[in-house]
Symmetry: D2
Subunit: 277 residues, 4 copies
């Protein structure tokens, strides 16, 4: 439905992430090969950390491939933690408030996939959102509702647990409404320090998700790739579709797993939705 | 906050309503004299009846004064029942789904004013909306929520009663939350045959609302005005601000009143919010 | 580079032309099968005749497939002469003034293809445009310059001759500048009564162009197709790519030919560029 | 017609320039007090120097006051040399390619005012532009043509002389075409190191232009203003309309003068158009 990219590592110009790779995210906006849709032309968004704790965001309803402002910004903004998302709408309107990543305080969130039969279950999901958080919902997507459910269920304290509870709740509500496979998802979320990336679907056939090999390993294998000389060992990309075809660079996140990218050791762990009490 | 115009009568080109009057609605988008804001540049919308029962709508996030598509359409579309609205946002995002008029089936609705402290009361108002209607809400404005409350409370069967109940409910929820003056409004709504226009505010100082004098009377007084020769006796404009300065043409809707424009005799009656049982 | 459709015949709702066919133009905006590009998401435009001599136009920089206003207008506007165009930019900016069809007085013009190396030859082509016409150029495309060259060379009096002279001139200027194949084109133009459609390229491998079979013939072969019962015998579509797969419905315009659709007998004739004196 | 701001000095966040002043440029987009128009809602643009020699630009067709991306970027981008412009169109289309500042290589240019009767003289002015520069014109404004004339006449080597020659040429062409007052202008241009600001009009009644007092002087007079403690002595603002009402902060550029802001001593000198040989 959509394509996304998350980067954590040495500060780099956004164009290094968005435009320069051979099969870049911008290229994927016109020619995705692994997505549910070939074209992801229903708006896009980026989020990045820089000045202060609160990340900046840039959302546009234009296709990413022809957006001149994105091209300009990408050659002038650098950051060590970036989320980028290109959208293929599954029905909700193309408007900036429906563009990922969504932000709450210092948190960012983006989603590829769908809450199935969302119009059928939307009201019940919205009711479960903390009334304090409710007014900060600005758009009409399933993805933003999902984010606010996760916030309600403790995202700021225990991200993996909160997402497991939110997904458990979405599956509970969906199944009660007769939806066979209530959720399909890859999700990235971050507080500006750690990055969590989830791969899951109720039917067990989840959208693809890949993470990049450690930079020190890649650097040895590919001494000719300039960018690998510049970024730190701990720099990491998580993507819905590999960028370029560098051998050994991409590893699939297994079904029903999530990864944590942070200073120190990264982790990959199983993901298990937790149904409501 | 906004400016609007509603027309019922002989079919006319939209440009006759939107551009040709001396102090036209498009002119008001740059230079409103009676509005809470001088500039109404946060998008606009039109709705019109023509082919079939369901009205057409055109919504744009550009300022009306520089929108070329509106100029083009206005010189090619004609209709006997038209709603037009220019927006000055009181905070909610400028996006097409927040542009008036809103549509449900054959109904259109537009609003000038505000539900005060909307973020504070939004959740409770949304809960009162019929779950069947809930998924058809696409934007994030108080005005669209108000429309769906009125639909929930019987707009299709008894428009004045439904609006009185919706306003009574909004005032009840607002006051329970400590809001002194919960609503400020002029509203126009139509099913494609009759047109209802309401003027009310909790504090008793409502936004202005005017209706045009009967065409047969105006025609006698102003034989030189060409358009008056073309339109039927029953043609009527209801506007938040007079168009032009034709003497005797405009009559103020009194505080806490509503009017009905329809084939046969038009009516002007008191409006009294009905608090929930 | 682009896809287009021209219709001349009984007045029909635009949605009959743009949305209802199986492989409609809107569908082609996401999934073109015969175009140089799969995706035609860099804006679109329509032009139609209705009120007065001057056609209406609607231009948008959004992809056609997600433009709600186009959907709305298409279900409320009907016309007996319609041009529609979806764009895949070959470099010039995505802005309304670069969207086809272009208009001059009662004339419309749209183009699929390219003037090769346009930046190299633009200045010389612009100089050849009648100084009276020069100020009416609003955008920056090769296609609009081509239109104004054709107007300069007599489009209003002798459309085929003017296009032959314009193409001859473009080829002359291009070749003088060392461009091997100066032009690639299918073009439709109309004065509101007749419709001319051209297929040509300097290299003799032109973009595809098809015209529909006479309605009376199709009606006999396909009595089950409802729309064929509604439209007049003389109704005709010219398209860059067939809509749907109705057997016997589509005929290719031969290389270096043009067709005229008008009341009475349509014609198909050879097209021969005329170099400058 | 428009409002603009140019800043040269210590790197600051753009929001310090665009949003925080009391009568900020963004505020002026809705409520200009000294402009020819109250509302400057026909798009805007910013240009800034940071990474590399080539400045970044951000252009939007939305009104500046409701553009969320501008708000976001302003709180994350900092620069020591910034141009910002809000537009009130005098007729040419609202599109990104008509938004100032315009860029050529490392140069930026913005203009408030008008080349009078531009459609009448445009062709002749365009002919005078260096054929090498001609293809880099993307929009349709008088301001961009003016920039390319100045480039043609030596802007990169002798900015004041080039602007004097360009204005002299514009006046010559205008007067030959019967235009009484061919040009009205304030202009800012920069190569990333120095900043030139011009005030001139053929009729001798030029749009307003102000420069800020030296920071060391202001700092003594207003020790309570925090931002003055942060920026260097040589920081300088040039604006079409004062921001805020800090006493002693703003000085008018005299009629027919230009200023140069650069490291070392700033200068203010007479401006005299030079007619063509």
């Amino acid at each position: 439905m959509c394509r996304w990219l998350a980067y954590s590592g040495s500060p780099v110009l956004l164009e290094e992430l968005l435009y320069k790779p051979k099969h870049s995210l911008i290229d994927q906006s016109l020619h995705s090969t692994m997505g549910a849709e070939t074209t992801n032309g229903d708006g896009f968004g980026i989020g990045w950390y820089g000045v202060g704790d609160v990340p900046g965001t840039f959302h546009s309803i234009e296709p990413a491939w022809n957006d001149r402002n994105l091209r300009e910004l990408s050659s002038h903004l650098s950051s060590g933690l970036v989320l980028a998302h290109i959208r293929a709408s599954s029905g909700s309107p193309v408007q900036q408030t429906n563009c990922h990543p969504f932000r709450y305080g210092k948190w960012l969130w983006m989603h590829n996939g769908v809450i199935a039969s969302f119009p059928l279950v939307k009201r019940e999901l919205m009711l479960a959102i903390d009334p304090e958080l409710y007014p900060s919902i600005e758009g009409s997507t399933d993805s933003e509702a999902f984010f606010h459910l996760a916030l309600t269920m403790g995202l700021e304290d225990d991200p993996p647990g909160a997402v497991e509870r939110a997904v458990g709740y979405i599956e509970h509500v969906g199944r009660s409404a007769g939806v066979e496979h209530p959720i399909q998802m890859t999700v990235a979320t971050t507080d500006g320090e750690s990055l969590w990336a989830f791969r899951y679907s109720s039917e067990g056939k989840s959208r693809t998700l890949f993470y990049s090999t450690r930079v020190d390993t890649l650097r040895e294998q590919h001494p000719e790739v300039a960018i690998l000389q510049q970024v730190s060992d701990e720099s990491r990309l998580v993507v819905s579709e590999p960028l370029g075809d560098l051998k050994g660079a991409w590893n699939e996140v297994p079904e029903s797993h999530f990864g944590v990218v942070r200073a120190g050791q990264d982790e990959l762990r199983p993901f298990t939705p937790r149904p409501p009490g």
